[in-house]
């Protein structure tokens, strides 16, 4: 009744192809932006930032990245953790080599370096597809983690083999290190997330996105219509790795502060991001947000309900979490392969007609 598009006429092709064609969606989007930028920074505290908001923002960037590769271009990747590690170590080397430069530039450069590495590991995709490509990216995952463990240059010959984020700022505001404030780190990550989401949306609704989806849906027909599979696939790997690299850089420098590569960027991380994309919805930017929010919130909510409310032991609740995630993956794959995003779409469709469905 209130959510409808009647009377919302499109008079130009620009307005017809915009991201939120329905007025009320657009209003909701701006409202969310205002709340995220102008309200949350004033009420944020350390617990909220570290337990929920920072991981959500950072994982959402990673999920958008993987979604471009897997959801839009159809190339399955299990190397997300490895590419996040590339972003993290690139950021670390940049931070320690050029201390005066703004963190902003470091993070973006780290993304660029990851994009180059992603293209390199994307080369096998020109020959192999599906499961075999997944195994090839799995090799990338293990190789990259091994590399960062074994070559001391990457961790500046530190005795522990860990990398620690030194204190760095942007525009005079401290972003990394133990003394960074919650609101600054939150805003820093939020800016990157919004930027990544806007760029991802623009790319996927335009020329590049169409060539990715064409490759995903039917590569032979894509080639016959003039899509060069080489540039389409490699550009998907580049853009995807760029986002994943940014998220890895933020994950290390802003969120964790100290990283041991096998622990922070192991194969579990690849699966976690893949689960986010599957549960959230393949081929949907909104789905990346939904999946990241879901998997970040799930352990927090479970702990709240299980440990604090019901008084169960912590380890049982932790195991429950694994069971629930596994179950959800199966349920989603069987019942709704397009994830939360599709559920949301169906709800909107129903709302549009409500209360007169005929």
């Amino acid at each position: 009744m209130f959510y409808r598009e009647a009377g919302d006429f499109k008079l130009s092709y620009q307005s017809d192809s915009q991201t939120f064609p329905i007025r009320i969606d657009r209003a909701g989007y701006y409202l969310a932006l205002i709340v995220a930028f102008a309200v949350v920074p004033f009420i944020i505290n350390d617990y909220w930032a570290n337990a929920i908001l920072l991981p959500f923002l950072i994982y959402a960037i990673a999920a958008i990245g993987l979604n471009i590769l897997t959801g839009y271009c159809g190339q399955v990747s299990l190397g997300t953790g490895g590419f996040m590690a590339v972003g993290a170590y690139a950021c670390y080397k940049l931070m320690t080599s050029f201390p005066e430069v703004s963190m902003f530039i470091h993070v973006i450069l780290a993304g660029g370096i990851t994009a180059a590495v992603g293209v390199l590991f994307g080369l096998p995709s020109l020959r192999i597809k599906g499961f075999y490509l997944a195994v090839a990216t799995l090799a990338a995952q293990f190789f990259l983690v091994w590399l960062f463990n074994r070559v001391p240059w990457f961790y500046n010959y530190s005795a522990s083999g860990q990398i620690n984020a030194p204190e760095r700022d942007t525009f005079g505001i401290l972003i990394t290190g133990p003394n960074a404030t919650a609101w600054a780190t939150y805003l820093f990550c939020l800016i990157f997330l919004v930027g990544c989401a806007v760029v991802a949306r623009n790319l996927t609704r335009g020329k590049l996105g169409r060539s990715w989806m064409a490759i995903r849906d039917m590569d032979i027909a894509a080639e016959i219509i003039g899509v060069n599979p080489l540039t389409a696939k490699l550009s998907a790997f580049a853009v995807s790795s760029f986002f994943v690299g940014i998220s890895g850089a933020l994950f290390f420098s802003v969120y964790l502060g100290a990283v041991e590569v096998g622990e922070a960027f192991g194969i579990q991380k690849s699966f976690l991001v893949l689960f986010m994309v599957i549960i959230g919805g393949l081929g949907s930017i909104f789905g990346s947000f939904a999946g990241a929010a879901f998997l970040v919130l799930l352990p927090v909510v479970l702990k709240l309900v299980g440990v604090d409310l019901m008084g169960w032991p912590t380890d049982i609740v932790a195991h429950f979490q694994l069971v629930i995630v596994g179950l959800l993956i199966i349920v989603f794959l069987v019942l709704e392969p397009h994830g939360i995003a599709q559920l949301w779409r169906v709800t909107k469709q129903k709302l549009r007609l409500w209360p007169f469905p005929h």
């Binding site: 130009s12 092709y13 620009q14 806007v198 760029v199 623009n202 080639e223 081929g283």
Partner: protein
């Protein structure tokens, strides 16, 4: 009979121009199997050229040679006065050859509009940073190409399903969307692989009408494979007949219809 540069006039008075595509002594082998044996024919500007023949005659292989899927072992492909080197299918598309498939090859996960817009991909040149921010050249190109896509959508009468995902469409409409995608590329040569396979009479009539209209309105040169003889004889200006990888007839529908070899191939002949 026909000169390379001069055209001819069809029975219904349309002027046919010079040679657009010429196949010279094409031979295509798969291991020991000879799919196409020493075939030559040409396609002229503005004409509707049919390739017919019994099952397994090598018609689809021929279309695949034209669209660059198969590289023939022998022979030359000449397109618009130039000999074509062995090229990849996407390069063929960029030269202005579009095609449809026998069993529909649409992008099922995309809407009809997006499918048609993929036909414009070769014309969109905006750099990635312009696309990333949806500014300048990217936005301009999107609108310009959308206008062309909308013209095609309008022409093929599929406006009502513009925003529908292709996977939800019935077979007949999918065929039409596939034609729209090929047309959106504004091809110089349009290849149709059995555009009427699996359709009922009404859908066939619609499709025939669209093919004739496309040829008429845009002057598009069309080469098509079709099994329905009635349709082929009505639509096409000239017909190539293939059997077992060899060319057994070439000419106007009337000439072909009276060709003894063609009759034998289709009706069968006693071997003694």
């Amino acid at each position: 009979m026909l000169d390379a540069t001069e055209g001819y006039t069809t029975a219904d008075g349309r002027k046919i121009g010079g040679v657009v595509m010429e196949m010279k002594n094409i031979t295509l082998r798969f291991g020991g199997v000879v799919a196409i044996k020493d075939i030559s024919f040409d396609i002229r500007e503005g004409e509707i050229r049919a390739i017919i023949g019994p099952n397994g005659a090598g018609k689809s292989s021929m279309l695949n040679v034209i669209s660059g899927f198969y590289i023939p072992q022998e022979g030359e492909v000449w397109f618009r006065g130039e000999k074509r080197p062995p090229v990849k299918p996407y390069e063929v598309a960029r030269q202005g050859i579009a095609r449809t498939f026998q069993n529909i090859a649409l992008f099922e996960g995309m809407t009809v509009l997006d499918n048609v817009m993929t036909g414009r991909l070769t014309q969109m040149k905006a750099p990635i940073w312009a696309q990333a921010f949806w500014k300048g050249q990217a936005e301009r190109e999107e609108v310009e190409n959308r206008e062309i896509a909308e013209k095609v959508i309008d022409f093929l009468e599929i406006q009502h399903i513009r925003k529908t995902p292709v996977s939800r469409l019935p077979y007949g409409l999918k065929k039409r969307v596939e034609l729209a995608r090929a047309l959106a590329a504004e091809p110089k040569l349009l290849l149709l692989d059995e555009p009427m396979a699996g359709m009922n009479v009404e859908e066939k009539e619609d499709m025939s009408r669209f093919i004739l209209d496309v040829n008429d309105e845009f002057g598009t040169t069309i080469a098509l494979i079709e099994h329905d003889m009635g349709v082929v004889m009505d639509l096409s200006d000239r017909v190539v007949v293939m059997d077992y990888g060899k060319k057994i007839g070439d000419g106007t529908p009337d000439e072909v219809r009276n060709n003894q070899e063609v009759i034998d191939a289709y009706l069968g002949v006693a071997h003694d």
